[in-house]
Amino acid sequence: MSQTSALRLHVPEPKARPGEATDFSGLVIPAAGVLKRPPIDEPDHSMRDYAFGMIRVLDEAGAAVGEWDPKLTPEMLKAGLRYMLTTRTYDERMMRVQRQGKTSFYMKCTGEEAVAVAQAMALDRGDMLFPSYRQQGLLIAREHSLVDMMCQVYNNTKDRLKGRQLPVMYSSKDSGFFSISGNLGTQFPQAVGWAMASAIKGDTRIAASWVGDGTTAEADFHYALTFATVYQAPVVLNVVNNQWAISTFQGFAGGEQTTFAARAIGYGLPGLRVDGNDFLAVYAATKWAADRARNNLGPTLIELYTYRAAPHSTSDDPSAYRPDDEFKRWPLGDPIERLKQHMERIGIWSEAEHTALLAQVDDDVRAAQKEAEGYGTLGVKPASAASMFEDVYKDVPQHLIRQRQELGV
């Protein structure tokens, strides 16, 4: 066969741009409950279909169906709902304080709350988390102090990061939450290294890490999968496919041609594609992968299929590049609403309880805010400027002492 026409560059295009109505009819959403749950020692090569299907537990009516139903206790479901609501409320409040000028920057995870919350709950407390900037739900589900989180956002006198980091770049050793980097993706292979260390030491703790769909294009994604497969590291690697990377849709990371879970196949790992707005599915898939890792059966890649309902950050205006109502029309719905519907359906939750919980969460967040603001907002410095010269090295070297003196602090 010979050349028929001139070559042309293909440039991906999302389904809709501002002013248009997104047509989701081409989006294949498999029914809940259809996929089997394989044993955790299933070889990766017999699991390739999981990268192209979608693990879903909650059906349209809110029933939990199929083998992947993790059969959580009512207490766990209630806790999950509470963490998700807290995350959303926290986000809204912090967004507002940024608008009020009390801090410089904020990033919400609205619409994606099930990802971090269910995953934190499916992992052990000793497991180490290497998140991106959009998994604040991990901290909340680990019951990390909201006040402490806010103090970082405000860069105030109680900011444990000493005012050094942009808001939302949390870090907490106590909560097993690794310092967030501004540089996309760098944490992914670091998590693999941490997991390798745990294996080298003959320990039992595993690692988990998160990147966005856009970030999969970075080198670190490839390093992570390569080292994970070579050394069969005990790690759960997650791609949060929320469809957008600032203004570019996931097609610019390769999502037009196949799924992100499919990347796993190329490295000989199981790749699970999961309904990221289905709390039960996210929990179940994560637990499966964690058990697999913990039993020396190697790493798993999970794609969490969701939607970034929020702007990228407070610096972003999505109405410039996507239809405003796209989230509302997102076929996989809202993770909070879906879990609520399920709990109501199985009779452990009511509208009244929900209203009460909302009020309580709101109070909690308000109280935390009040306390945090008592320690100051951006501009009320967390430490003396002398602290600027600390922690560059373990001990402050002579040249930094001289520079500190030059600054006169």
Binding site: R8, L9, V11, P12, R17, S104, F105, N155, D159, K162, G163, R164, Q165, L166, P167, M169, S181, G182, N183, L184, G214, T215, A217, E218, A219, A245, I246, S247, T248, F252, A253, G254, S315, A320, Y321, L378, G379, K381, P382, A385, M388, F389, V392, H399, L400, Q403, L407, V409
Partner: protein, 337 residues
């Protein structure tokens, strides 16, 4: 002639080159449909089509690598690295490939690429949106490094960079995108529209790479600066009340050493100002060359005013930023010495 801020001037440079040369292509993260997070490429995709102005995967190394391939083909790629802090994943392709290709192929292949990237602090960007990494590029032979300080220069230099047959790293101090910033963060920003250098010719013109500009003539001391610091230096000199000769380097490599030497020989004193961290910053090279070539003329030690050797801390941005007061003190010290 139009009034432009630096964003518009940079946009205009690409517009002019996309128009003049079918080989010019522009790509990078968010630069296509959206027009860039700082809007430097706004409107260009619409005007020139998405085959010539397009979004890229979030892979700075891949952006550089594909740009090199396109350059080898014969195009003139202009790529944006969203923040200078994120140029490091592309470092290998820049240093090992773009910079060495002409040399290692005996002159048969080369990559006429331009790498645009916003640099510098002062916008509450924290440690990963404030860096000034120019020095490391100046150490890499085969690369040219440019940093404009105003709209007129930005457009003329960017056009020259795009037309250049060598790879050029073009840093844009984001703090001065909208107006000249003298370092007084608590005063309102004067926009470029109120500044003579905000008057920018509409069409094609170039400012030769490798030529510095004397932005203020003076007899007492030479101040070497570039980017945002050109404005801070002017403020610092005014505060000090010193008759400083202020040189805007504009291009770091190749350096306009003749202009520098002539000035220092005249003044006998020199202050160097940059925002980047001190140790092995470009100020060190400047200081080295000045002492090599003007030793007998120096009446006082040269002084560097730079960022501290720490990351750029979010809450201590203004303690970090080398502002006019530090320049003033350096000038007074040099005048004493």
């Amino acid at each position: 002639m139009a009034t432009m801020n630096m964003i518009q001037a940079i946009n205009s440079a690409m517009d002019v080159m996309l128009e003049r040369d079918r080989g010019t292509v522009v790509f990078g993260e968010d630069v296509g449909y959206f027009g860039g997070v700082f809007r430097c490429t706004a409107g260009l995709q619409k005007k020139y089509g998405k085959e010539r102005v397009f979004d890229a995967p979030i892979a700075e190394g891949g952006i550089l690598a594909t740009a090199i391939g396109m350059g080898v083909y014969g195009l003139r790629p202009v790529v944006e690295i969203q923040f200078a802090d994120y140029i490091y994943p592309a470092f290998d392709q820049l240093v090992s490939e773009a910079a060495r290709l002409r040399y290692r192929s005996g002159g048969e292949f080369w990559a006429p690429i331009t790498v645009r990237s916003p640099c510098g602090g002062g916008i509450f960007g924290g440690q990963t949106h404030s860096q000034s990494p120019e020095a490391v590029f100046t150490h890499v032979c085969g690369l040219k490094t440019v940093i404009p300080s105003n709209p007129v220069d930005a457009k003329g230099l960017l056009i020259a960079a795009i037309e250049d047959d060598d790879p050029v790293v073009f840093f844009e101090p984001k703090r001065i995108y909208n107006g000249p910033f003298e370092g007084y963060h608590d005063r309102p920003l004067v926009p470029w529209s109120k500044h003579p250098l905000g008057e920018v010719p509409d069409g094609y013109y170039r400012i030769e790479l490798g030529k510095a500009a004397i932005v203020r003539e003076g007899a007492a001391v030479t101040v070497l600066a570039y980017g945002t610091m050109v404005h801070v230096a002017q403020a610092g000199a005014a505060e000090a009340g010193v008759d400083a000769e202020i040189i805007d380097l504009r291009t770091l490599v190749p350096l306009d050493i003749d202009c520098i030497v002539a000035s220092v020989k005249k003044t006998g004193r020199c202050v160097i100002v940059h925002e980047a961290t001190k140790t092995s910053g470009f100020g060190a090279e400047l200081m080295a060359q000045v002492q090599e070539l003007c030793f007998a003329h120096l009446e006082a030690p040269i002084v560097r005013v730079t960022g501290w050797d720490t990351p750029y801390p979010h809450a201590f941005e203004w303690e970090y930023f080398p502002g006019p007061d530090r320049v003033k003190r350096a000038l007074l010290k040099v005048m004493e010495g």
